[in-house]
Symmetry: C2
Subunit: 301 residues, 2 copies
């Protein structure tokens, strides 16, 4: 894995997220923020070490840069009454909602994703929602825990972005130190129970040769959104102005580039916001679940 020092970019991005969140608490930052890992440090250790540091309160803030090369995941926790529908929603829409881990009802563990993993304490920050309203942003959800809660961990584009940058493909939002631009599209998801709504996509401008290579590389990672869903013609998927994203930040698409669109992990968050479940917990933007799984494990070839 190629690691590059991006401390400055990282700090700039953290400030950006914080200021957006501070000025507008309903600002929807992406579940899967797109940052490359900062330089690996000796004390980063593996996923377990990262989770223990978070649990102990010795790491706060975004998880970008923790346990480089390890998969990080988006989190959605729903009452069991909605779990079957949400699970079916994910299975019907594997590109925006690639499930990489689920828990048993009431069980805070997700053993397939990590040793000694406690979903209630191992993310730096959470968002607690009641009837679609944000009611808390705690660093620990033990006090909100219920015996009927089911956790869903959804793959994020961190994993494929690592593979793209490792091949020397520049990702503009990373270079710019901003967030990837995301858009609600005219592509409908497959509904399951109350869960329905448009697919959200992220966009990365790439030169045509890089776009072809990026299709190949991301095809190898079906469990972290996989191949692009669209390329080149934003208007065909209901995007009127590529410079006006619905989430994240606009980045320039140059004349020698094509906008390339991937299904985005913001889709389930957007869908949950529409459903307004009586109770729901998600991760705080940028504060992902750090797993023990390696990005490379998720490459199917």
């Amino acid at each position: 894995m190629k690691t590059i020092s991006h401390g400055r970019i990282l700090r700039s991005w953290i400030g950006h997220v914080r200021s957006k969140a501070a000025t507008n608490p309903h600002w929807m930052a992406p579940m899967a923020v797109s940052l490359i890992r900062k330089e690996q440090k000796a004390d980063d250790g593996g996923g377990l070490a990262a989770r223990r540091a978070i649990r102990a309160g010795s790491h706060r803030g975004p998880t970008a840069g923790l346990a480089p090369g390890n998969v990080q995941g988006n989190l959605a926790i729903l009452p069991q009454a909605l779990a079957a529908d949400f699970l079916r929603f994910c299975q019907l829409n594997p590109k925006p909602c690639p499930l990489i881990g689920t828990s048993a009802p009431g069980d805070p563990r997700v053993p397939e994703l990590g040793e000694d993993l406690d979903i209630r304490t191992d993310l730096p920050r959470y968002r607690v929602w009641k009837n679609g309203e944000l009611v808390a942003e705690p660093q620990d959800i033990r006090e909100f825990w219920r015996d009927d809660l089911v956790s869903f961990v959804i793959g994020c584009s961190f994993s494929f972005e690592e593979a793209l940058t490792a091949e020397g493909i520049e990702l503009r939002h990373i270079t710019r130190g901003c967030n990837v631009p995301m858009y609600r599209t005219s592509i409908a998801t497959q509904a399951a129970g109350p869960f329905r709504g448009p697919m959200v996509v992220s966009m990365r401008p790439l030169k045509p040769r890089e776009a072809i290579r990026a299709v190949q590389i991301t095809t190898r990672f079906p469990s972290v959104h996989g191949a692009p869903v669209h390329i080149g013609k934003p208007e065909m998927i209901g995007i009127k102005d590529v410079m006006k994203p619905d989430y994240g930040d606009a980045v320039e698409v140059r004349d020698d580039e094509l906008p390339v669109f991937w299904a985005c992990g913001v889709t389930p968050q957007s869908v949950i916001a529409t459903v307004k479940p009586e109770f729901c917990i998600t991760h705080y933007p940028g504060s992902m679940l750090v797993t023990d799984r390696r990005n490379t494990e998720f490459a199917i070839l």
Copy 2:
């Protein structure tokens, strides 16, 4: 393999090639003409049966439709003095010049491509060139054979087009019953000895989703040109007007489509025409070598 009856399209195309060739003997039809196979007939048999029918003179004309599912190849035969450079040229430029078979000097067999294969008799028609001039278009090259001749068989897009149409991707030149449009580009090939010149590409207009799928499908076939070399911006590879191809026929690119460009088997023919070797034999356009290998064998996954 999906087989569709395209007898009418095939007949129309054959007429087209013949009339072009008749009115302009220097019209360069593609080495790898792009047609889907016509319906498999009981007497098509395998590659060996096809070659024996050709050798016996009972099959004349284009090989499209013979031995459906079998690989067909472009042919270039050069004196041994040029063979090492041409071989190196192919190895340096595997996308336009994917070598699938070579012979020993003077040996008319290419055992890796077929049983009882005689390169001198097993193609329906040849073109014989002296110092860059076309001197004959015989149905048999035994009288031109020399002990220093080396045969090169180069993969053709038939194989990946079969895979694309099997997935329901419409290829407009096939629907229209015309030849795929081809263009000399500003992409330089890697030179080897006297062999050098621009890469020739073929173009297929595809909807964005199909273009992404086509990248995936053709990536599986590196020995028959593999993934596209460009997508979406013809001017970036030196193509001023996509409606004015240098070889083949123009096909419309609609507003909801992207032009997708693959390296083309016409490249080596174009390069040989520039080099003007003292002696050279190629296949007659559309009269390919039918091999015993299956298209599916060439899929790397």
